[in-house]
């Protein structure tokens, strides 16, 4: 079989589906009563979410002191989680916007869940800058609004202010993009549903969509425009996130390589998360025909590419530091590799650079279990990447008198768990309540292979 069928000509959807089958298959996944696995996952997620919520409530009521931070290490889990989640979010936008612009039509099977993942990840990410504040109830001060203080505005030079704008814009645009993509599918569900509350709600949100091609044409224009806007947006968001560090003076943070390095890392971690989720979704929701091995393989290839990019960034960073002759910079990197957090550093390197190399092997790429494990490891590695950047740079910076260590507290661990709880709770609910596959788009590519044959 190998080498005979051109990859390009392989149908994007397996099983010879007809248009109505798409509707039926996708909606069936929503109509079925959730299985035991779903319930188990949901309960676990909700439990984690509850634990995280309790931890956050306790922390907000008691003080940031409930985290393991100190005078020298002012950020650790909080901003690590923030950058991690933002990074996760980026794969969704990549799949839905960048691949759309690149006419990668295989994206249609995964873009809906990838976009949902983006939204939930950005939600998780957005929580951390909020709760990491000493006085989160005053968080609205980071937005400029008319006031009676003179008026006193905000500091537009601060990367945190940039963050506030970037993250909120990113969330709004991603949500809009996702919703625009959902409208035709909502109409499909509406027209299948029995009259009742569900139908009324869905009908409300489907905006009276009737499938008119005049609307479809504008819809395509808007979709392309949004994709065109989301593409630079996603790059700008992670660039801005990287500027949180790159604009500072802290050795190990102050590096011009950060924006591309962070964007590549974000796509890398996001792809890994998409893989993790898709492998579970296709199995549990019986969507193997839509999310095929080919999808997994393509994404695995993207993982290899971004892994190499990230690996190159690690090397470049090290080289720049050692070549700079700057004693502080040089020390930070030797300290990363050999200091008290060396274990975190080597976890990061092995999970992000070494492990993904197995994906060069087709056997590994096509084995769902192997890809699943690797994607999980990449997620772990990418979390540690942010941890390493933040904590190892801070804990031993300029003045040796300031050098400290860092140990997380239970509250911080619970908060991290809570963010995963929130993410999976949202995702599991999404998988029950909304079509995980963009029906309108998949229907459009059913004739993909056929079309090629015509051509």
């Amino acid at each position: 079989m190998a080498g005979v069928v051109s990859v390009l000509r392989t149908p994007l959807v397996a099983g010879g589906k007809r248009i109505s089958d798409v509707t039926r298959d996708v909606c069936a996944a929503m109509d079925r009563k959730p299985g035991a696995l779903w319930w188990a996952g949901f309960l676990l997620s909700v439990t984690m979410l509850a634990a995280g919520a309790a931890a956050v409530a306790y922390q907000v009521a008691t003080g940031i002191g409930t985290w393991g931070l100190n005078t020298t290490v002012g950020w650790a889990f909080d901003i690590t989680n923030f950058v991690f989640w933002v990074g996760i979010g980026h794969a969704g936008t990549l799949i839905s916007a960048i691949l759309f612009l690149l006419r990668q039509r295989w994206r249609t099977s995964v873009n809906r869940s990838a976009e949902a993942m983006t939204l939930f990840a950005v939600m998780c990410a957005g929580i951390f800058p909020l709760i990491h504040m000493g006085r989160p109830w005053l968080a609205f001060w980071v937005f400029p609004y008319p006031n009676w203080r003179g008026p006193l505005w905000i500091n537009f030079r601060s990367p945190l202010a940039w963050d506030a704008f970037a993250i909120s814009t990113y969330f709004i645009i991603s949500a809009t993009f996702w919703y625009i993509g959902l409208i035709p599918d909502l109409a499909t569900i509406r027209d299948r549903a029995q009259a009742g509350l569900k139908r009324s709600i869905i009908s409300f949100f489907s905006l009276g969509w009737d499938g008119s091609y005049r609307t479809w044409q504008r819809y395509e224009t808007v979709y392309t425009l949004l994709a065109g806007l989301a593409t630079p947006l996603v790059i700008s968001v992670h660039t801005i996130v990287s500027w949180d560090f790159a604009t500072s003076v802290i050795p190990g943070w102050h590096a011009t390589i950060f924006p591309p390095y962070f964007v590549a890392g974000a796509i890398f971690s996001g792809m890994a998360m998409v893989l993790t989720l898709m492998i579970v979704v296709r199995k549990t929701m019986r969507l193997e025909d839509y999310i095929t091995v080919r999808h997994v393989e393509t994404m695995a290839r993207l993982v290899i590419v971004t892994s190499l990019m990230v690996g190159l960034a690690y090397l470049t960073e090290f080289f720049t530091a050692l070549y700079s002759g700057n004693p502080y910079e040089m020390f930070v990197f030797t300290n990363r590799a050999a200091g008290p957090f060396a274990w975190a550093y080597w976890t990061m390197v092995s999970a992000n650079v070494l492990v993904p190399q197995f994906l060069w092997l087709r056997r590994v790429r096509t084995s769902m279990a192997a890809v699943f494990v690797i994607s999980l490891l990449v997620n772990v590695g990418m979390w540690f990447e942010r941890f390493v950047i933040i904590v190892t740079s801070l804990h031993r910076d300029y003045l040796p008198a300031n050098w400290t260590g860092y140990t997380p507290t239970l509250i911080e661990v619970a908060t991290l768990a809570g963010s995963f709880g929130l993410f999976f709770t949202c995702f599991l609910l999404f998988s029950r309540l909304l079509p995980v596959i963009a029906m309108g788009e998949v229907k459009g590519v059913l004739s993909y292979a056929k079309e090629k044959r015509h051509a």
Partner: protein, 973 residues
């Protein structure tokens, strides 16, 4: 009333219901003396209830959330008192017997800060950490407020009657005290004792120097501690005397030492050699430091004596030969001091000083010091009498012998057996618990007194607040018991009438008097047999006082417990310091609890690896494990994961090691040979603010130019070239008016940490507790970084006061999203607490890590202790960043005063709290736009450099390089 209210606004229902009634409830809050607020009376409770209700009601009423604020003026305003204007009173510090002059800053009737008195002839404006912190003792809610009789509260009259009844017919009456340097108190005690057949006043010092007067008795025929003149010495050789840290009068000595070492001003610098076992702050400043076991220190003294006397014995090591050569070259301008508590050693020291002609020059015996008047022999005989039951009445004045002396438990039992025992103390300590009567003494800020720390210099103490409790001055107590009841004011005034100009002396805080000069007779040589150099078995124990905690008299003081030790940087504990090599040999790591055996008692302490310490020595701090520290069980924020209180397993801070003191009847000795150190296998976490990081990165890498040094020979007149990096936008921020800057002379800084406490008092810096320090969250705005260079055995030490550098290109400012930290037009890096949302980005992005975050609401529950707060400085809430402000409130005050008077601000009008307190005057603050200001001149000095200049943040703090008085080879400079 209702009609009146209908159209007007009110803030609370209580107020609306009836203003006057409400005001009656309210007035008990502030109208009376602060004493009233110590014990909440029903009125106050009612007020609090009303206030709480009004608060709740006003919240309900809408958006008027602020509770009603009352303003209660005096009924009859005393002249010169204006609300909100500070008044300064000159007084004398009683933190120890050194008698430094202080100016007490009072605001609206309450003292809030002590400042050194710049005109004082001894302390010259400096004030040490313990002195700075002593103001907290005034507002100590656990201070005794009434006399106790057999452990129960009693009225003064009853107590006095009972004491006088029991005194009738008493023969052997003893007053036991630390050094009393107050002539009036000495006179009152003498008058009291004169009533009895056998009345004696026994003075002792827990940090005894009694071997010095003992030796002078032998060599010069006077029992006195000479007044050492470090400022006149060009060569100083010290044997285990920590004269910059805790020895006799450290503030005075530091000022004098600095005067003799100001190389830039005088083009010369005194040369200082230190022979010591542990690493003291004096040793950390020495040009040559020799670490030796205690027994060898003494032997070196012997060798030096013979070197000075008779030229070179062949076997003397080179460092001694160098010291001897330098001493001889600077005969008459040199000084040898010795902290060894042995009369023989002190006789040798006297002999050397005599041979060098230092008496009358650097050693003043004619106007001796009265800062250590204790006699260990007298103490020994008193203890003997107590053991023998030969004492009828014992009055303990301000001392705590049970905790301070070896055999304290037995001593307490003896005291309990006495028919009359009286403690005259401020707090119920270990000794007071053993006495029948406790007569609480005033805090010194509440009392009239005087001091003559050095013959011919009288310092006065005047009350600056009405006594907060029902206490009584000890002077008054003794005069009452001698049947001549007079107030302390009368007694002090009578004592000096005709001798000094009373008004002027009181205003100045001191007076010079003609003191009957002690008449030392001619030097009489005393033969000292050479010490047998026994090969010491095991370790030698050295007991030492820590700066701040001293002998334990300040054990009640949380500021001093949280003050990092200048060398180890450890807070809230005492511990066993071991040289790294010794620890390696023992297999002990930092924090391992070891048992120190070999003395009459054995103690268990966590080990600390102390570079630069002698390998056969284990050093332990005195003054810990005091009953007064039991209060710290609850200090610090309480939360889910707070790991233990600030006290140890014994419920106290640290362990009392007084039991290990050696007392041979002649002198209390602070070293003991033949010690075994045994691992216990347990560990105890220590709360250090700084770990053992040296300037060079661990694992190699170049040394960082954070501490810079120069050599005396290399001191040039070259002015520093300014602004090595160009400014990209010079015209945007021209700073045309004042531009505040600071210069810190690292050569002058001894690390004594007076500035740290001064800053804490001035700026309302909270105490966080041991757990928070352990988590590296100490809040001190000004910290002193200690760096080692060299090998772990032979280290060189640098102290670097580190505070917000007020950078022009402040990295913290750019990253704050809400403009909570921005630059002022006078170059200050401002932190606006009420705007801060607490992202901590600024602290992360501070290269100096000078910012402090309020991780919790650090407790301020003690209403009485809150009276020490500076009303000009905002209290920071949880979740807010804070940092050094260059004492912007002082800048404001000085500016507004100058503006009111219509005069320009002059250089020196503004002194920051740290600058004010520094005994070595290492810190200078001023306007760098004024080319003639002192700070400008220092900034142009050839020694000037800025920390992390290479990152071009343009700090406003300039550091001056350390000057090492030695050549590259360590020989002659």
């Amino acid at each position: 009333m209702a009609d009146q209210n209908s159209t007007h606004y009110w803030k609370s229902l209580a107020e609306r219901a009836g203003g006057p009634d409400f005001s009656v409830q309210a007035e008990t809050e502030f109208a009376s003396s602060p004493l009233r607020s110590i014990e909440p009376d029903p009125g106050r409770r009612a007020f609090l209830k009303a206030a709480g209700f009004s608060f709740a009601a006003s919240v309900m009423a809408g958006c008027s959330r602020a509770p009603v604020q009352r303003a209660m003026p005096y009924l009859d305003q005393p002249g010169g008192v204006i609300a909100g204007r500070p008044v300064y009173y000159a007084s004398t510090c009683a933190g120890c017997a050194a008698g430094c002059g202080v100016l007490v800053k009072t605001r609206d009737g309450r003292p809030i800060k002590l400042e050194g008195n710049p005109e004082h002839p001894l302390s010259r404006g400096g004030l040490c950490a313990a002195g700075q912190a002593s103001i907290l003792g005034l507002y100590d809610s656990l201070r005794l407020k009434h006399p106790l009789m057999e452990g129960k509260q009693a009225a003064w009259q009853k107590v006095d009657e009972e004491i006088l009844r029991r005194l009738k017919g008493a023969g052997a009456v003893r007053v036991l005290s630390h050094t009393v340097n107050s002539p009036t108190a000495l006179w009152a005690i003498a008058g009291f004792l004169a009533q009895f057949k056998d009345g004696r006043h026994v003075m002792y010092d827990p940090l005894s120097c009694s071997a010095i007067p003992d030796a002078h008795e032998q060599t010069h025929g006077v029992r006195a501690v000479p007044h050492y003149r470090f400022d006149r010495a060009e060569v100083i050789v010290s044997f285990d005397a920590d004269f910059l840290g805790t020895w006799i009068s450290p503030v005075e000595y530091t000022a004098a030492y600095r005067a003799g070492r100001d190389a830039e001003a005088t083009r010369r610098s005194c040369w200082h050699a230190q022979f010591e076992s542990r690493l003291s702050i004096t040793g950390s400043k020495a040009d040559r430091r020799v670490r030796l076991a205690p027994i060898e220190v003494e032997r070196s003294l012997h060798q030096l004596a013979s070197l000075v006397e008779s030229g070179a014995p062949q076997d003397a090591p080179p460092h001694l030969q160098e010291a001897a050569a330098r001493l001889r070259k600077a005969a008459g301008r040199s000084l040898v001091v010795c902290g060894i508590q042995s009369a023989e050693a002190q006789v040798l020291c006297n002999t050397i000083n005599h041979k060098l002609g230092n008496y009358g020059a650097t050693v003043d015996l004619e106007k001796p010091s009265r800062q250590r008047a204790g006699s260990d022999r007298a103490l020994a005989s008193l203890l003997e009498e107590l053991r023998g039951g030969k004492v009828d009445a014992l009055f303990i004045l301000g001392a705590n012998p049970v905790a301070e002396l070896p055999g304290g438990v037995a001593l307490a039992a003896h005291i309990r057996k006495l028919p009359l025992s009286v403690s005259i103390v401020e707090r119920e300590d270990e000794s007071a618990a053993a006495t029948r009567f406790v007569c609480p003494d005033h805090h010194y800020l509440e009392s009239w007194s005087d001091a003559e720390p050095v013959a011919g210099v009288v310092s006065f103490t005047q009350p600056v607040i009405r006594p907060l409790g029902g206490t009584r001055s000890s002077i008054e107590s003794f005069s009452l018991w001698s049947g001549r009841p007079k107030t302390a004011q009368e007694l002090v005034r009578e004592r000096w009438s005709g001798k000094v100009n009373w008004e002027e002396s009181l205003r100045n805080g001191f007076a010079r008097i003609e003191s009957p000069a002690a008449a030392p007779r001619a030097f009489k040589a005393v033969a000292v047999p050479p010490r047998e150099a026994k090969p010491a078995e095991g370790y030698e124990l050295v007991l030492y006082p820590k700066a701040g905690m001293l002998d334990g008299r300040h054990a009640y003081n949380p500021w001093l417990h949280e003050l990092p030790d200048p060398i180890t940087k450890i807070t809230w504990d005492n511990y066993a310091c071991l040289a790294p090599a010794a620890a390696a040999k023992l297999g002990v790591a930092e924090g391992d609890v070891v048992r120190i055996e070999g003395g009459p008692v054995s103690v268990e302490l966590p080990a600390v690896l102390q570079p630069g310490q002698d390998e056969r020595t284990v050093a332990v701090a005195l003054g810990y494990g005091r009953k007064a520290s039991a209060r710290f069980a609850k200090v610090g924020p309480a939360w889910l994961d707070s790991r233990g209180a600030s006290v140890g397993a014994n419920g106290l801070v640290g362990t009392n090691c007084a039991g290990l003191l050696a007392f041979d009847g002649a002198s209390l000795r602070y070293s003991r040979a033949g010690i075994r150190i045994v691992r216990t296998g347990r560990r105890q976490a220590l709360a250090a603010t700084q770990d053992h990081h040296t300037l060079a990165a661990p694992g190699g890498g170049p040394a960082r130019p954070i501490i810079q040094e120069t050599r005396l020979a290399e001191l040039t007149k070259h002015e520093r070239k300014h602004e090595t990096h160009p400014d990209l936008w010079p015209e945007d921020h021209p700073y045309t008016g004042h531009k505040w800057a600071m210069a810190i002379d690292l050569d002058a800084c001894t690390g004594c940490s007076a500035c740290v406490i001064a800053c804490q008092v001035e700026n309302n810096v909270p105490v966080t507790g041991k757990d928070e320090v352990r988590r590296k969250r100490a809040m001190h705005w000004l910290r002193i970084d200690r760096y080692y260079t060299g090998t772990p055995d032979e280290v060189e030490v640098a102290h670097q006061p580190m505070l917000c550098q007020q950078c022009d290109n402040a990295t913290c400012e750019t990253v704050c999203p809400v403009l909570a930290t921005v630059h002022s037009s006078e170059g200050l890096n401002q932190q606006i607490y009420n705007r801060c949302v607490g992202t901590r980005y600024c602290a992360n992005n501070c290269a100096y890590k000078a910012r402090r975050f309020n991780w919790f609401d650090y407790p301020r529950d003690d209403r009485l202790a809150n009276m020490v707060l500076n009303p000009d400085v905002t209290i920071r809430s949880r979740g807010v960043m804070e940092k050094c402000t260059f004492c912007v409130q002082r800048i404001q005050q000085a500016r507004l005063e100058a503006r009111r008077r219509g005069e320009p601000l002059r250089d020196g009008d503004i002194r920051t709290a740290c600058q004010q307190s520094c005994p070595a005057q290492a810190i200078v603050f001023g306007d760098m736009n004024d080319p003639n200001s002192k700070v400008s001149r220092l900034m142009r000095s050839g020694r000037a450099y800025k920390v992390l200049e290479e990152i071009n943040v343009r700090p406003a703090v300039t550091y001056l390089k350390i000057v090492r008085n030695r050549t590259r080879e360590g020989g002659e400079s």
